[in-house]
């Protein structure tokens, strides 16, 4: 029991860049102005997409999750009791045409030098299962709950926690 506590403490103290997925080439990335159908094709296989300004510099500008697509895929029900600017994005009405139209622009991210405990707390606070790792606005990797569970579990089974660091 005591050993277990020490393990989780050590786990918390690790840096994001030690556990994150650094294979940027393998991340679900899409350019802001790409067609909505491309978004749908990626989300058919993945749970989320990171939206970048362009493929050369990979500046992160947004994120699209399955839930974002649900709101544009389902028939638009526009309430009669709404004030301010309404959200009119919909595939049915042709008002969601590109990745930029659908993405959430306010991204919750983490820094590669942050501790894992901080990233975990952020996931809890914002109810997220994944965070992009961003340095100088450029996406350099991602940290998913799935990865963290896998790494921690393998550590409990006496495997070195940083064993497959490079993926």
């Amino acid at each position: 029991m005591i050993k277990e506590n020490k393990l989780i403490k050590d786990f918390y103290e690790l840096k994001v860049n030690q556990l994150m997925d650094k294979r940027v080439w393998d991340l679900p990335l899409i350019e802001e102005n790409e067609d909505i159908h491309h978004v749908l094709s990626i989300l058919g296989a993945r749970n989320h997409i990171w939206v970048i300004k362009n493929k050369n510099n990979k500046e992160l500008v947004g994120v699209i999750t399955e839930h974002d697509v649900l709101t544009i895929l389902a028939p638009k029900h526009f309430p009669s009791y709404v004030f301010g600017m309404p959200d009119i994005r919909s595939i049915q009405h042709g008002t969601a045409n590109s990745a930029g139209d659908v993405m959430a622009k306010k991204i919750i991210m983490c820094d590669p030098d942050e501790k894992i405990i901080d990233a975990l707390m952020r996931m809890v606070k914002f109810k997220l299962r994944r965070l992009p790792v961003v340095k100088d606005k450029i996406i350099v990797g991602e940290l998913t709950l799935h990865q963290l569970i896998r790494k921690y579990y393998s550590a409990t089974q006496y495997h070195p926690i940083l064993e497959d660091e490079e993926g």
Partner: protein, 412 residues
Amino acid sequence: MIYTEEFFNILILIAVALIFARVLGFLFHKLKQPAVIGEIIAGIFLGGLGVFVFSGRNFTILSYSISTINLNDLLQSQEFYLLAQIGILFLLFISGLETSFSSLKKTEKASLYVAIGGVILPLFFGLLSGLLFNFSLAESIVIGLILIATSVGVTVRTLMDLNVLNTDVGSTILGGAVFDDIMGIVLLAFAMGIGSLIDAVWIGLKIGIFFLVFLYIGIKVIDKVLLLGEKLILPKAFLSLTLAIFLLYSFFAYEVGIAGIIGAFVAGIIIGQNARSKDISEDVKVIGYGFFIPIFFVYVGSSIWNNENIEISSLSNVFLFIFLVIFLGIIGKIIGCGIGARLSGMTNRESLQIGVGMIPRMELALIIVTAAISHKIFTGQVVQTILLTTIILTIVTSLISPLLIKATFKNN
């Protein structure tokens, strides 16, 4: 007042107002009309009950004596008025939260032209009709302001039904409505503070400084302030802090001599930039849509029964005035916004479609008239005339716009 009979009467009034508002709102929603109209009619109905049934008189049936509460006194009580005023602040705060400037970029120029055209002409027409019917200059300016702000809800639903939301016309109308809302709010603050030309310059400066300073400071520091809220591990502490910021902004706006509603709107814009704005917006809507905003609409509806009765002899004059204001309100938007759209490079037909799409007026018109009455710009019998005009304007423009929009899109 706590635990007095008056306190419990207010509680009953709030309960009845909410039930009536929601039931009539739902009926109008079922009739594919804005629910707000139902809520205003709920207020008119309750106010009418106050005049004709629950007016505080005593009835004697057989040997039983029945005393009724004075419903109209309760509807116009300070307590109910306070809730309605908070409802206005919530409306403006939510409007600010939902304003997305980045989505305006696509049609920024056209929307701005349309908004400017749709502000200048209706403002002028309103001013003119006020002066024509012997209203004072300040009253006439407010009549003009009532005609400024477009309520885009009705138009968006109609454009959606016609499958033309994703056109330049659709985007321009949406953008134009956002711009004319902002112009309407700023001009209202301006109108309420003006006494002379020096006042006008001073108020203009104050509005400019307030927008720049509070918007800038807010955007720079709001995340840090809200972080404090996150550290308070208590249920909905973050929401409490958000509400405190929005109310403080309203207070500061009032303190520097401009309308509190500007503060609420600016606070909404700032908090809308926060990463958690979606969650905040949902929580604020629960409080606003669920409680304060329906009370505001019921209050507005019930207010037409307030004060002195309109003299029968002046009724024809009142109806003539209402007709003129509504007619000019409609024509003003069609021509004003149409010219704006044409100048931005749209075709004649598109310009007409935009002009017609900008006709509906609703929440901001009601806010402007309520604020002007609170500031005693309208007093006495004029209050009822102007309230009736605004309410009929909102109902008529909401009902006829879908028909006109559909007509202009025929054979498109």
